[in-house]
C-alpha cells in the first residue's frame, strides 16, 4: 500500500505488544532475531524465566562489553548473562523441557503462517541455501503456546498469513497467536481471528494484505503501543 498506515507498529512496538501477552511466572523461549527484543519490553514487576535451548533457564541480559563469557551464550551464540536462580543443563534435558510441554511460550519469527496455524520459518526451499533447522521444529511442536512476531507482509508486500504455507513447514497447526505490525491475530480452530487492528486500517484493508480469510473478533480493539 502506498499510503502510510498511521497506526503501524515499529519493531520495538511489536516486541512490546508481544510482551504484554506473556503472563508473569511463564517459562519462555525467545527465538533468534526480533523475538529476542521481547525481553526488553517486559513490565518491571512481571517475573518471567527465559529458557535458552543450549542449556540455560534464567537467561539474563546480553553481557556488557568486557564481561563476555563464551561459555555462556544465547542460541544465536551471543554472550549473555544468567540471573540469580538460573540453572544449566544438557541439550537432551533442555529439549525435554520444550518437547515435554513444560515450556509455556515460544516466541518465533516466521516466513509464513497458514490459516490452520501451520508455521514455516526454517527454509524457503531454495536449493542454493544450505538447509539448517536448529531448534525451530522442537520449539514449534513443544511449546504450549507459540507466539509469532512478524511483519504482516514481506518486504515486497506479499502476504505472510496464507490459506496454506507454500514454504516447507516447521510444524503443522502449532501457532497460537500472530503479532504483526498491523494486527494481533489468534489462530482458532476454524481459522484466524483478528483481536486487534492498527489505527488507520479497516478490516477490509487488513484482509487485502492477508492471504488467508480473516474473521473479525466481536471485541476487536485498536492495536496500540507506546512510542519507542
Amino acid at each position: 500500500m502506498s499510503t502510510p498506515i498511521s497506526g503501524k507498529l515499529n519493531r520495538d512496538q511489536m516486541a512490546w505488544r508481544v510482551a504484554q501477552d506473556i503472563p508473569g511466572g511463564s517459562y519462555v523461549n525467545l527465538g533468534i532475531g526480533m523475538p529476542e527484543m521481547v525481553a526488553n519490553h517486559l513490565p518491571d514487576d512481571r517475573q518471567v524465566i527465559f529458557h535458552c535451548e543450549n542449556g540455560i533457564l534464567g537467561m539474563g541480559p546480553v553481557a556488557a562489553p568486557g564481561e563476555e563469557d563464551f561459555d555462556l551464550v544465547t542460541a544465536g551464540k551471543k554472550p549473555v548473562t544468567a540471573v540469580a536462580g538460573a540453572a544449566f543443563f544438557d541439550s537432551a534435558n533442555s529439549f525435554a523441557m520444550i518437547r515435554g510441554g513444560h515450556l509455556d511460550i515460544a516466541v518465533l519469527g516466521a516466513f509464513q503462517i497458514s490459516a490452520a496455524g501451520d508455521l514455516a520459518n526454517w527454509s524457503t526451499g531454495d536449493a542454493g541455501t544450505t538447509p539448517a533447522v536448529g531448534g525451530a521444529m522442537d520449539l514449534a511442536q513443544g511449546a504450549r503456546d507459540v507466539f509469532v512476531i512478524t511483519e504482516h507482509t514481506t518486504k515486497d508486500g506479499a502476504p505472510k498469513i496464507m490459506p496454506q504455507c507454500t514454504y516447507p513447514l516447521t510444524g503443522a497447526g502449532v501457532v497460537t497467536t500472530v503479532f504483526t505490525d498491523l494486527a494481533v491475530i489468534d489462530i482458532h480452530k476454524d481459522g484466524p481471528v483478528v483481536r486487534e487492528i492498527a489505527n488507520g486500517l479497516s478490516f477490509d484493508d487488513l484482509q487485502a494484505l492477508t492471504g488467508a480469510t480473516l474473521t473479525l473478533d466481536a471485541d476487536c480493539k485498536a492495536l496500540s503501543a507506546p512510542a519507542f
Binding site: 563464551f70 561459555d71 551464540k77 541439550s91 529439549f95 533447522v133 522442537d138
Partner: protein
C-alpha cells in the same frame, strides 16, 4: 589395579581413531568445543569421518580445521549455516561433503537414546515437514509422531571443566550442552578437561557425567577461544 584414565598428551588421547569413524564432537557454536582434541585429530589424520555436532564449524579452528583438512565425509548437525561457517558451506556447495540436518532436540535425544540402549523413539518434532520424509510415522494420543533412530558414535570428543582420574566430569555454564549426551553415546569417550582434580575432589552430588561414560582424559588448562580472540582483536 588402580583406575586412572588420564593420558599424558593430546596425541595419546586421540590414538587409534580409525578411518570411517563416527565422531561426536561436543559444543554449541564455540561453547564447549574441544578445540585442542579436534586439532589432535587433525594431526592424527583419520579420514572419511562422520562428524556429529550441533553446528558445522565456525571460523578456522576446531571443527572448521578438521573440515578444511578434508578428513570429514559427512556432517550430522542441526544448524550448519552460521555466519562464520565458511569452510563447511564451501565444501557443501562444492558437493564435497554429505549433510544430514536433524532438529536440535532430536539430535540430542538420538544421542541420549543411543547411550541409554533405546532402539528409537517417536517424537512429534518434524511431523508434516520435509525432515520426516521417508520415516515411519505413528499417531500417538491423536498427534503425529516420527520414528527417530539412535546415533551410535564410535568416538566422542568432549570438553569438560573438571575431571577426576576416574573420569567424573563437571562442566562450565552453557558449555555443557551436548557433552553429557555424547559421552553416553560413544564407544570411546575422550575428554579434555580444564583441570584434573584428585579423586574425591568432585563432590559426588555435583558430578554431571559419571565416570562410567568416560574412557580417556587429558588436561588442557588454557583452551583456545577463537570467539574471545576475535573480540579482543576487534577491541584492540
Amino acid at each position: 589395579m588402580i583406575i586412572d584414565k588420564r593420558v599424558p598428551t593430546l596425541a595419546d588421547a586421540v590414538q587409534g581413531i580409525s578411518d570411517g569413524a563416527v565422531v561426536a564432537i561436543s559444543g554449541f557454536g564455540e561453547a564447549g568445543n574441544p578445540t585442542e582434541l579436534v586439532h589432535a585429530l587433525v594431526e592424527q589424520g583419520a579420514s572419511d569421518l562422520t562428524v556429529v555436532n550441533n553446528n558445522a564449524g565456525t571460523g578456522q579452528l576446531g571443527l572448521a580445521k578438521l573440515l578444511a583438512a578434508g578428513q570429514v565425509s559427512k556432517v550430522i548437525c542441526s544448524f550448519p549455516r552460521s555466519a562464520k561457517s565458511v569452510v563447511f558451506q564451501d565444501l557443501y556447495k562444492a558437493g564435497k561433503i554429505e549433510l544430514e540436518v536433524v532438529p536440535q532436540g532430536t539430535l540430542a535425544e538420538r544421542l541420549r537414546a543411543s547411550g541409554a540402549g533405546i532402539g528409537g523413539f517417536f517424537t512429534p518434532t518434524s511431523a508434516s515437514t520435509p525432515l520426516a520424509e521417508g520415516k515411519e510415522t505413528r499417531v500417538i494420543d491423536g498427534k503425529d509422531h516420527v520414528l527417530e533412530l539412535p546415533i551410535r558414535a564410535d568416538v566422542a570428543l568432549i570438553k569438560a571443566d573438571k575431571a577426576d582420574p576416574w573420569g567424573n566430569l563437571t562442566y562450565r555454564k552453557a558449555a555443557r550442552n551436548f557433552a553429557p549426551n555424547m559421552a553416553m553415546a560413544a564407544a570411546l569417550t575422550i575428554v579434555q578437561a580444564r583441570v584434573i582434580v584428585g579423586l574425591g575432589d568432585i563432590d559426588p552430588e555435583q558430578v554431571v557425567t559419571p565416570s562410567i561414560f568416560v574412557d580417556r582424559i587429558v588436561e588442557v588448562s588454557d583452551p583456545v577461544s577463537e570467539a574471545a580472540a576475535l573480540l579482543e582483536q576487534a577491541n584492540a
